[in-house]
């Protein structure tokens, strides 16, 4: 079973919830793995203090100029729609950060002067704790292609953790990265707050999930701070509310120290119980 935890914007408690849920499921002897797919800013490892087990370089394929037979015809630069290749009077320059790995330049080159070669864009780290695993995709600074690394991290988890409950902590937003993190899951939890802000973000996230034809439910975080807008919206749209996590400064305090919440706060644990029960009901 694969479940994505997503939210329209950052700071809604996505990481707090996914790290706590992972640890809680593990404490009940469930086989569980958490994948942190917020590859630009992964910080689940701050909360789940596991031991680094494996570290794997993640590459993307990019063309590399081989001058031997090159006639400097410029076809490569012409077919690259991402401006990743510049043909200068005496040389061809490749800019890997702009490359989408479409292979067009390499395969359409009449002299095979641009063989595709691996180039590091980040790494996939696996952490082990007593009873659960955490896998984290980490994009190198200055790299922009988050999607291939997200896909690679999910593949890594799929291969290594067959039969586990797989929780995917998605990056924020509604753009390509969150779509990649959601589209192949069995279910998506959308986390939001019960404020006009939260509702606005939720609407965008719901729109995204509907285009993906994805099954989803809503978790209301910091419940009690705002109005009833989110609940009313969910009712009208027929979206299940999985649980309401109550607003509590103590939660924020524990979070600020990088500590897990549920061992110390009962109402938070009750919310996790509701989530676990809900997961049990997913086909």
């Amino acid at each position: 079973m694969k479940i994505t935890i997503a939210s329209g914007k950052g700071g809604t408690g996505k990481t707090t919830l996914s790290t706590n849920l992972t640890s809680y499921l593990a404490s009940q002897n469930r086989k569980v793995v958490l994948a942190d797919l917020d590859v630009e800013e992964p910080n689940s490892a701050i909360f789940l203090k596991g031991k680094l087990k494996t570290e794997q370089v993640f590459n993307k394929m990019v063309p590399k100029w081989d001058s031997t037979d090159c006639t400097l015809c410029g076809k490569c630069a012409e077919v690259c729609n991402f401006n990743a290749i510049i043909d200068l009077p005496n040389e061809i320059r490749v800019y890997p950060a702009l490359c989408h790995s479409c292979y067009a330049c390499s395969e359409l080159c009449p002299t095979n002067s641009l063989p595709m070669t691996p180039e590091r864009i980040g790494e996939i780290c696996e952490y082990d704790s007593d009873n659960f695993s955490l896998v984290e995709g980490r994009l190198d600074l200055g790299q922009e292609m988050a999607v291939p690394l997200i896909a690679g991290t999910i593949d890594f988890v799929d291969e290594k953790f067959d039969g586990y409950i797989k929780l995917l902590d998605a990056p924020p937003g509604t753009s390509c990265p969150v779509i990649e993190a959601s589209r192949y899951s069995d279910f998506v939890f959308l986390i939001t707050e019960s404020t006009p802000f939260g509702l606005n973000d939720l609407r965008l996230a719901v729109e995204t999930m509907r285009v993906l034809k994805q099954n989803f439910g809503v978790i209301i975080n910091r419940y009690g701070i705002g109005d009833n807008g989110v609940e009313e919206y969910c009712q009208v749209e027929n979206i299940p509310i999985v649980t309401k996590v109550h607003n509590d400064k103590e939660v924020a305090k524990l979070y600020s120290k990088g500590e897990l919440i549920y061992p110390k706060i009962e109402h938070f644990k009750n919310s996790l119980d509701e989530i676990v029960e809900f997961i049990g009901g997913i086909k």
Binding site: F82, N83, A84, I86, D87, L88, E91, R93, Y95, L98
Partner: protein
């Protein structure tokens, strides 16, 4: 000397464009013949990425001796520009082309390359 300005218009009084890669126009002043040549750079507007690279390539085709701009060229563009002997002067983003030229003449601009 051929001096290229990153600009938003085609006259001496036109404002400079602080951007290099996405400059609206290239205005090239040839000191010997005392003429201004104007080349629009509108194709970079539609580019999502790599505008700096394309602009740098285009700039080099006109082989200027000096480039005068505002914020300076980005890392990738700079990399392309380094393949020639062109010099870049920055800090003229808020000026008119005329003012930028004078500031350059009076040594008031910073050299980027």
């Amino acid at each position: 000397m051929k001096i290229l300005f990153t600009a938003k218009g085609s006259e001496w009084s036109s404002p400079m464009d602080a951007r290099f890669g996405r400059m609206e126009m290239m205005v090239i002043y040839d000191e010997e013949s005392d003429t201004l040549e104007v080349l629009p750079n509108s194709e970079t507007e539609a580019m999502e990425h790599g505008a700096g690279l394309q602009t740098a390539k285009k700039v080099l085709k006109h082989s200027p001796d000096i480039i005068i701009t505002g914020n300076g060229a980005g890392g990738k563009a700079l990399d392309i520009l380094k393949t020639s002997n062109v010099k870049i002067f920055i800090g003229a983003g808020d000026m008119s082309i005329k003012e930028a030229y004078e500031a350059y003449k009076n040594g008031k601009l910073t050299e980027q390359l």
